[in-house]
Amino acid sequence: MEKKFKPNIVGFLCNWCSYAGADLAGSSKTDVDSSLSVIRVMCSSRVNSNLVLSALLWGSDGVLVAGCHPGDCHYEQGNYYARRRFALLKKIAEVLNLEPDRIQLSWISASEGKRYAEVVNKFAEDISKLGPNPLTSNPKV
């Protein structure tokens, strides 16, 4: 039986909501797929296309960006910019012959520990179904 592909995913979590939600998932002892490596940023709006595309070009099987729910952004409007940028990023992914579902934007609040786990576990499963990153050009540092 073929071993299930375990993806390598990168997640950018905003400090105020989603990172706190991830912490809550941990303190509630919820199991979360270890495929995702978390990188903390202050706001989802910090995550520019550069960061997402670099991650994909260097071999990340998927990129998750998580921020506060619309209306709850600690900096008032940052997550709206993230949302708009994302629509564009999905299009760029297509141009690169990457499945657009490899990039995902989710809203996770500080009290949604369970939801964080659900989002990450589902994303990891979806990515493992998509298979390894077709553009893999891992620099093997």
Binding site: S27, C68, G71, D72, S109, A110, S111, G113, K114
Partner: protein
């Protein structure tokens, strides 16, 4: 006022804001909270109107600031027992109940909850779920340290003196059964009362069937029902776990009895309609109201948007009847017609009343209550936050029903008054 110490009673939204403003200015704040956690009533709400913002997310940074501020000393499970003196030199005695768990050593891992053999009704969850005798009030409670309920703990109430299940499970030695209640004496220059509100007890109004019919909820119960960290983790079903197909939300419960409008219920009742629509989009919702009290800038728009999706009925009188588990709301419309609507669930929006300890605290502080039971203030028209005694300020719902922005404004104002006196 030379004394740089201030006593703040109550750690809800108002108490926290006043504490932070004063602490940032360099004052030494003594924040007394009767419960085991900080945040007051607002942390019970999943979302607040009109923007449906996540209440816990909104308050978490403030709570953390309060817990970590070097100028704020927090006294949990504490109440003010005695005061004497006057503005500039109040002598205050605080009674602090033992928590039996060290706030310094405990890291909040929760290993002690499961082993505890005692379960009791969780007051924070409005009795809709149980918690152990050693527990935090809810997931995400701050500080994230449990407290032991001395009346129910088998060891502390003497029923099983040898029980040490929690102590054994703790890897940090954070549990200390030898901790004693404490008395702390302070001298402060000013006192801010921010003891908040409670919900009017609807069980006294038989016509609404609360307590008789299982699917009649109070506002607070419904808030906890919808909360992600609540007894059902945000799942909205009826008590028999059936999905909700219809709901009736009745405003103004207790208004006649109390003699005042609580100002916030129309808005939070409409917020409830949003909650239901979120989890049961096909549900039919009716809001029963008398006057719509929606004075905020964006409140009318909130109402107009909602009235496109649900029914608003202006009533003269209303009651709830039940037969075989089905609820019926029988009412007289403002046009005089009598009618009724069947409903799976009924939510009652009760008046805001002064919080439980108001009478005792008023005595301790030597100030009086007004005819509605809230703390009296000197002149409602000029300085609604000044109590009868100089140096004692009343803010937030302790002064009277109000919404969060007004509570915060009063909190900042009290801080402003104190800092202004020091200039």
């Amino acid at each position: 006022m030379k004394n740089q110490n201030v006593l703040v009673i109550g750690s809800g939204v108002a108490g926290m804001e006043a504490s932070l403003i004063l602490a940032d200015a360099g004052m030494k704040v003594h924040l007394v909270e009767k419960d085991s956690l900080i945040g007051g009533q607002t942390i019970k709400f999943e979302e607040v109107y009109p923007n449906m913002e996540c209440a816990t997310c909104m308050l978490a940074p403030k709570q953390q600031e309060v817990l970590q501020h070097e100028n704020i000393t927090l006294y949990l499970l504490s109440q003010v027992k005695k005061t004497e003196g006057s503005a500039g030199e109040f002598k205050v005695q605080i009674g602090k109940k033992a928590r039996y768990v060290s706030l310094i050593n405990c890291i909040g891992c929760g290993a002690c909850y499961d082993p505890c053999p005692v379960s009791l009704d969780n007051e924070f969850e409005q009795g809709m779920s149980q918690k152990k005798a050693i527990a935090v009030a809810c997931p995400g409670a701050l500080p994230n340290v449990p407290a032991i309920d001395a009346d129910n703990c088998l060891r502390l109430n003497g029923k099983k003196k040898g029980c040490n299940a929690c102590e054994q499970a703790c890897g940090f030695g954070a549990i200390d059964f030898t901790e004693k209640d404490e008395t702390i004496n302070l001298e402060v220059g000013a006192i801010i009362v921010a003891t908040g509100f409670d919900q009017f007890d609807v069980s006294g109004l038989a016509q609404f069937g609360y307590g008789k019919h299982p699917n009649v909820y109070t506002a607070m119960e419904f808030e906890r029902l919808y909360a992600q960290n609540g007894p059902t983790e945000g799942k909205l079903t009826l008590r028999e776990e059936r999905p909700i197909k219809s709901a009736g939300i009745i405003h103004c419960i207790g208004r006649k009895e109390k003699g005042y409008c609580s100002g916030v219920c129309c808005m939070y009742s409409m917020k409830f309609a949003h909650f239901i629509k979120d989890k049961a989009p096909e549900a039919e919702i009716h809001e029963f109201h008398t006057d719509l009290c929606i004075p905020g800038k964006s409140h009318q728009r909130f109402y107009e948007e909602l009235s496109k999706k649900i029914d608003f009925i202006r009533y003269e009188d209303v009651e709830v009847k039940g037969n075989n588990g089905n609820l019926e709301i029988i009412y007289t419309h403002s046009n005089g017609k009598r009618d009724s609507i069947k409903s799976d669930m009924v939510i009652l929006s009760p008046a805001m009343i002064p919080s439980k300890g108001t009478k005792d605290l008023a005595k301790v502080l030597g100030i009086s209550q007004d005819s509605m039971g809230f703390f009296s203030t000197q002149d409602q028209n000029l300085s609604p936050i000044d109590s009868e005694k100089e140096g004692i300020f009343i803010i937030g719902c302790a002064e009277g029903p109000k919404d969060i922005p007004d509570s915060v404004s009063q909190a900042e104002a009290a801080a402003g008054r104190i800092l202004s006196l020091l200039q």
